[in-house]
Symmetry: C2
Subunit: 410 residues, 2 copies
Amino acid sequence: MTASEVRSLFAVASRPEVVSLAGGMPNISGLPMDVVGSLLNNLIEKRGLTALQYGSGQGDPRLREQICEVMSATGVRGHPDDVTVTVGSQQALDLVTRIFIDPGDVILAEAPSYVGALSTFRSYQAEVVHVEMDDEGLIPDRLREAIRAVNASGRRIKFLYTIPSYHNPAGVTLPAERRTEILRICRQEDLLIIEDDPYGLLGFDGEVPRAMRADDDEGVVYLGSFSKTFAPGFRVGWTLAPHAVREKLVLAAESSVLCPPTFSQLAVSEYLSGYDWRGQVKAFRELYRERRDAMLGALSDLMPEGTHWTHPSGGFYVWLTLPEGLDTKAMLPRAVTNRVAYVPGTAFYADGFGSRSMRLSYCYPTPERIREGVRRLAQVVEQEVELRTAFGASTSSRRPGLDAPAPDQS
Amino acid sequence: MTASEVRSLFAVASRPEVVSLAGGMPNISGLPMDVVGSLLNNLIEKRGLTALQYGSGQGDPRLREQICEVMSATGVRGHPDDVTVTVGSQQALDLVTRIFIDPGDVILAEAPSYVGALSTFRSYQAEVVHVEMDDEGLIPDRLREAIRAVNASGRRIKFLYTIPSYHNPAGVTLPAERRTEILRICRQEDLLIIEDDPYGLLGFDGEVPRAMRADDDEGVVYLGSFSKTFAPGFRVGWTLAPHAVREKLVLAAESSVLCPPTFSQLAVSEYLSGYDWRGQVKAFRELYRERRDAMLGALSDLMPEGTHWTHPSGGFYVWLTLPEGLDTKAMLPRAVTNRVAYVPGTAFYADGFGSRSMRLSYCYPTPERIREGVRRLAQVVEQEVELRTAFGASTSSRRPGLDAPAPDQS
């Protein structure tokens, strides 16, 4: 799915009568707007000349200290000198890719993986090799096999890109033992890990998974973001990187945007110091848990046999796989006609797989709307299954090349 | 001069006892902070859920309309559909370079040229070929020669990068006839122009030079910025580009940062609609004209014979060239010891030239500080001239390779 296809999809899905389970927009309706407004007013009043001026390419020093405090919740002990503030963690992905990738280099990534990362990797002409996951995330043995296969083919692996906690789009979380094992494999193979952790604080049982970076200072570049724990509109993310990488990141950031928006940075900084942000994160967890429950309940009540899905313990997403022979991309127009939208699974693969799967987001709509959306989706899936049974073939078989089975989901 | 050298320079030059004529920070002390504070407070109150959320990769539609209104002052008639909002115009430079440049491609740029552009061009492994300027900017005949020479060498020119109005760092402005001639040359040669125009509204006689884009819709990509007409801390710039280029720009922007900061965009939008921004631009012009006058007056009073400089009619910068044999980079530590800072000319060349020149900024310090800074600088230059006379050679001749003459300034 190209970016422009994604855009058209969002245009249609944004009609009010459509229940969109497609977008990944955080639900910021619970933010205390009065508090934010007065924090910003104070910021201009007291530090306006600083907030409206250029800043350093690496980012505001006080914010970098606060970021270290935020990361400590995931077990990470970082030094503010090793933090680089970025324009959302998307820019961090862009800069890391720019630094490490020459055309044709290989990046290992989960199957499926974050669509925005895949698009960045593609723009630098990296080859993505997907590594199979199960309900507990990346499978260490499959990682070993992938490394062996790529090495044997004479290609060069530059890093493993992973979202260990509350994965986007898969909704799974890597347990502690697997994290240790994957760290060990990557150390043995001298393979850098890019750990993308935008959802780490949003676990529904209140526990925060220990970041992989917490157990490896030198082999992991950690990416964080305030888009899901505060608000995406400021576009403030960061990297915590080993010293040599950090230096290159700052140079690349300067060449790319001179400096991240000072106002945004100080706004986040004021919010962290002037408001109970931990309490707000708790409130977000409650909000998303309620929606996750609504979605899992509705799926379990309504989805036809042969459909299966992941059971996220945090984050925004459920990964749903349809019975064999169905194609989520081919089905999408019918779903939108039935007033429900999702993102087809192929968007999350660099290699055309994922055609039987889809990503469902429960972050944004109300629980009622989520249940209604799943009801509409279940109707469409049932019709597809009936059609397939009646005509003995996939309704999507008319679209050759797009309904390849997804071996990772079989 | 590497980026890290520039950083160390700024670190030293930021000591309060040093008069920095080095930085390019706009002087935002005249901004109405109370108005800005209450505009932002209102923004959160009335449109908080939008301002704090993700937006489109191309940028806010209303802001893009307002940008077209801002550009109309330079004669440009653009359509909001062709505008892409960027994270400062530095990101516009980055995206344009990313789209057009393969390693080894040639970019034509003025001699000297903007240091931030050169650093971006370098990061994409473009080869910059400088084209000579005089007191009226880029010389059309030299442009013809450069195109001929590069073509003859079998290399491929991707675009001409130019700052026609109130040039950074040269402080010169291209007259209307030359703009027409350069447009004609580039059309004949099928050569795209990247017109960088952050200072266009900041002319001291109140006239706004007609942008080159105003007379060529298809051959010019126009870059604009609110960093100098409002405030850099929001990092809001833009491009106006022909349709096919615009589409690629949006895709590249999405891959790079997903979307520009929504809050920044709406803040600028509210400022444009809720405040007399044209009156504020007039106030900025007055402020910078007073400082320009202070600098030119002091230079004329104090600089030793054999030194010459440009006479900007707008913008932030004077380009000063020392008597033959002097080296501004070698001289910088002595200048900083004498509590004045500038940027050595070599920073503005991709090819090591510019060693006799320096950029002096008058945008930030008070007129008194500017005069004091020029006084200190003149002392240092005089000492250098004396040393050179006494010892018959440049004090910098100990630094081989750095004191090449700058033919463009001879």
